[in-house]
Symmetry: C2
Subunit: 514 residues, 2 copies
């Protein structure tokens, strides 16, 4: 059992079975959000729980452990010294599988089943509660989920805060202590930036984005942009769902969803570009490693960096619209025929504190994240009771953004995450923004013509650069390693803040757009 | 281990796991036909094979066997004498589970995996070959499938013909010897009936069905009919696919598909009613037995009886259109405003030998089945070589129906069944027609107002009668038992032939419709 090929072959067979179960669950989950009949909710919850439990049980089976233990140092997941000559990809595959195994091993099977079922149910209650603007309806489910997530943190183990155990699920290696200084810096500079926006005398004329735009034509335009980005429709599709998301069942089947509002041009357009960024990551993973960590994304933050890079660094950039704005005008001549490129560019970069995170501009977006993060940290650390969430939410929104929702549906109930048990997920959005700015800055260095290319509608060089630098590696490197490897630097908020400060200066202080 | 509750509880837990795998596979298969991106075919084939193999492996596990063996007579699947006081439903559940177990046990896991993968691939090649009208393209896959099905028959065991092993999969207990006399009677009487149609001087004016009909409006009308039938859209949906089908993942999630052609009114309408009949069966199975044979349909023939009863006995009946024709005229006033009910009724009952089975009238339909059945019997018994299929097909079509396809796409390639390994399935269509006529005849006896109800658009009494007599029982009774129990008779072709002879007489000899 010393040949890496032998270990790998047996390991891959086991992992493939697990992935087949997980990817079946992913299709069930996609279907739940897109096409499932409403009456099937309860059965679907049981079905998802059953598949996830089977996947979990296979992952923690002695077979897998017996395969890994002889070649690894169980404390680190690194191969033992005598195997140090094995290929780096093999070593990474083993290390990441061991990480998955040891984390899963800590969770009892019955707990996994219960968590999955409760989350699937809570998700349906949340959707209803949000529609009814009724936080009380969701409260019992939320309380259950929080208790389960605390229990999960307890099983997983942690230092300092149980939140760290959850955060590590989405962003391996990250802790609250690691996050806080970043967030402090961000908060200070973003609030300064927001004040500078408030003082500006020229304001973008945002109303042009909120005229009536034919929904089919919006979809057609967005599909065209996705195709230009290199999103492969032979291996993907776009559907409608209440909340846009990306899911993958294999690198040859990566699906995005969007929403289309007649009176909100940005909704469909930017959610397609955003999800398209996620989709390119998944389509860029390597088929030949399907089933293993080498064909999985590194972390939620790195995934988000791909969507935010495309949505913001590219999709809200001047060069991008040099090419696409005339096409958009062609699609909507009555609405946009009299609008200049400068006016449009300013409109899509309007900064204005608002209630809904997913529609927030680049300046206030991370302030929304801070609100969520601080509240969920208090929840997991048992420093706040669930009943008080709406008022706590409103206080923090007032403090950070200066706006307060009139309805819980636009406040505490706006996001699905807690309903699906995704505590510890929100900070990865901010990390995604920071990674994105660093990566895009580096892309501009590595590809000196990139902005000229984009201005000509040539988006493939950037896509291929991302394929090469990020996507193809799967989990071979950690997010820290890959950022270091690609940019030569460690993660910092500076590139993001500089990028944003420059853009805001341009939009708010060097033009007249009204 | 002598209490039925104990056996049942443990058994149900095992069976539920198996069903969750199978129903995940069913969703993957539905998705493959409706929304899957084209490039995902290869991965989907692997994925389906993996899930089916896991389900198979769980079914044949010693755990299940150890649970069943102590309480059953392994030769019959009946509970041992000392348990004869157990509830009939419990005994049936055990008997049918034992049947599934013993059949599955005969198939090696690697064989199941290979068969599933080859079928999923062959299905995709078949679709392409049919589009290209290229039998040679499909030939290697078909050859593989036939060899695998022969192998399957060999594993399963049989007397007389390997075909019997396959037929028994779809229609438990049926054999070639059992079928042949039925088919002989049918053939003689149907050919006589066809000659009577040929000699009739009045002919229905079929062209009214082939005008231009807005596709969306067709769908809307069909959905309305489905709702009237009692098909529950809270627990179901309609999608488009190349070939209409019904699938179920749970009684609360039963989906039908249809196709819509602008210039063929019958296509969408009758495939919706047909699939709706299948859908009502699946929606009528009992939730509380989900996962067990008591929440599964009896046989393919009994399933088909439900679809054909609705499609033909109801959907092509005069009372049905007394209610629905005015509504159809309202939906398509330009096309049908000048057509009388009599003309429409005659048009939808036109008898005309044609190439495509699924579009065949009630007289020629079973002749199509005989063509398929005889050919597949020869294939499985190795009495014909695959290369000769197109010419054999054409000869038989000439002999039975008097028509010969110009293209293999309209001939040997028209049906998906062989591509998915469903050898032995075709005869169940004919059995379905025969069961349907017997059941509908009985429904008219049990519910004396049924035709008056239907003529008022009240279809629910019939649906509820079927729920009560057929659906709710699942596999508690065999098809022979249930037909005997509901009608007091054994299966016979007579009710079907009488029903059809009466209708043909009415349409072709007692009116003037041109």
């Amino acid at each position: 059992m010393e040949k890496p090929e032998e270990v790998l072959t047996r390991l891959k067979t086991k992992l493939l079975e697990i992935h087949h179960l997980k990817d079946a669950a992913a299709l069930l989950a996609w279907d739940q959000e897109t096409y499932m009949p409403p009456g099937a909710g309860q059965a679907r919850a049981e079905h998802l729980a059953a598949l996830q439990t089977m996947a979990h049980d296979k992952l923690v089976s002695p077979e897998l452990e017996n395969l890994l233990r002889p070649v690894l140092n169980p404390a680190t997941g690194l191969v033992q010294d005598r195997y140090s000559g094995w290929a780096p990809s093999t070593k990474a595959l083993l290390r990441e599988t061991w990480r998955d195994f040891t984390r899963a091993k800590k969770l009892p099977s019955a707990f996994v089943n219960r968590l999955e079922r409760e989350c699937s149910l809570a998700q349906q209650v949340w959707a209803d509660a949000r529609k009814n603007n009724d936080f009380a309806q969701f409260l019992p489910n939320l309380r259950t989920i929080i208790a389960l997530k605390r229990e999960e943190a307890h099983y997983l183990g942690y230092t300092d805060s149980p939140y760290n155990a959850l955060l590590d699920t989405y962003e391996p290696g990250w802790t609250v202590a690691h996050l806080k200084p970043l967030l402090t810096t961000l908060r200070r500079r973003l609030v300064t930036l927001l004040n500078r926006v408030r003082k500006a005398s020229t304001k973008p004329h945002e109303a042009i984005l909120f005229q009536s735009f034919d929904r089919d034509r919006q979809m057609e335009f967005s599909r065209m942009v996705l195709a230009k980005m290199g999103y492969d429709f032979q291996r993907g599709r776009v559907d409608l769902s209440a909340h846009p998301f990306t899911t993958s069942f294999h690198p040859t089947d990566v699906r995005v969803t969007t929403r289309v509002y007649e009176h909100e041009l940005p909704a469909c357009l930017f959610s397609c570009i955003h999800e398209g960024g996620h989709g390119l990551y998944e389509q860029g993973l390597r088929n030949e490693f399907y089933g293993t960590p080498l064909s999985e994304p590194i972390s939620c933050g790195m995934h988000e960096s791909q969507s935010r890079l495309w949505e913001n660094c590219v999709g809200r950039s001047r060069p991008f619209w040099e090419h696409f704005f005339p096409l958009l005008q062609h699609a909507f001549p009555e609405q946009l025929g009299q609008t200049s490129l400068e006016q449009f560019y300013a409109a899509i970069n309007t900064v204005k504190p608002s209630l809904i995170r997913v529609e927030a501009d680049e300046v206030t977006y991370n302030l929304h994240i801070m609100v969520r993060f601080e509240i969920e940290l208090e929840l997991i650390e048992e420093r706040v009771s669930v009943e008080n969430l709406p008022s706590l939410w409103n206080e923090k929104m007032k403090e950070y953004l200066g706006v307060v929702p009139e309805r819980d549906a636009d406040g505490i109930l706006q996001d699905i995450h807690w309903a699906i048990g995704a505590f510890g997920y929100f900070p990865t959005y901010t990390l995604g923004n920071l990674y994105a700015a660093m990566l895009y800055q580096q892309a501009c260095k590595d590809l000196p013509n990139i902005e000229a290319d984009i201005a000509q509608g040539r988006l493939l060089p950037l896509k291929e650069w991302l394929n090469e630098k990020i996507h193809r590696w799967g989990r071979q490197f950690t997010s820290e390693e890959i950022i270091q490897q690609v940019t030569g630097e460690n993660l910092s908020a500076e590139p993001f803040l500089q990028y944003l400060e420059t853009k805001i200066e341009k939009v708010y202080y060097s033009g007249s757009y009204s």
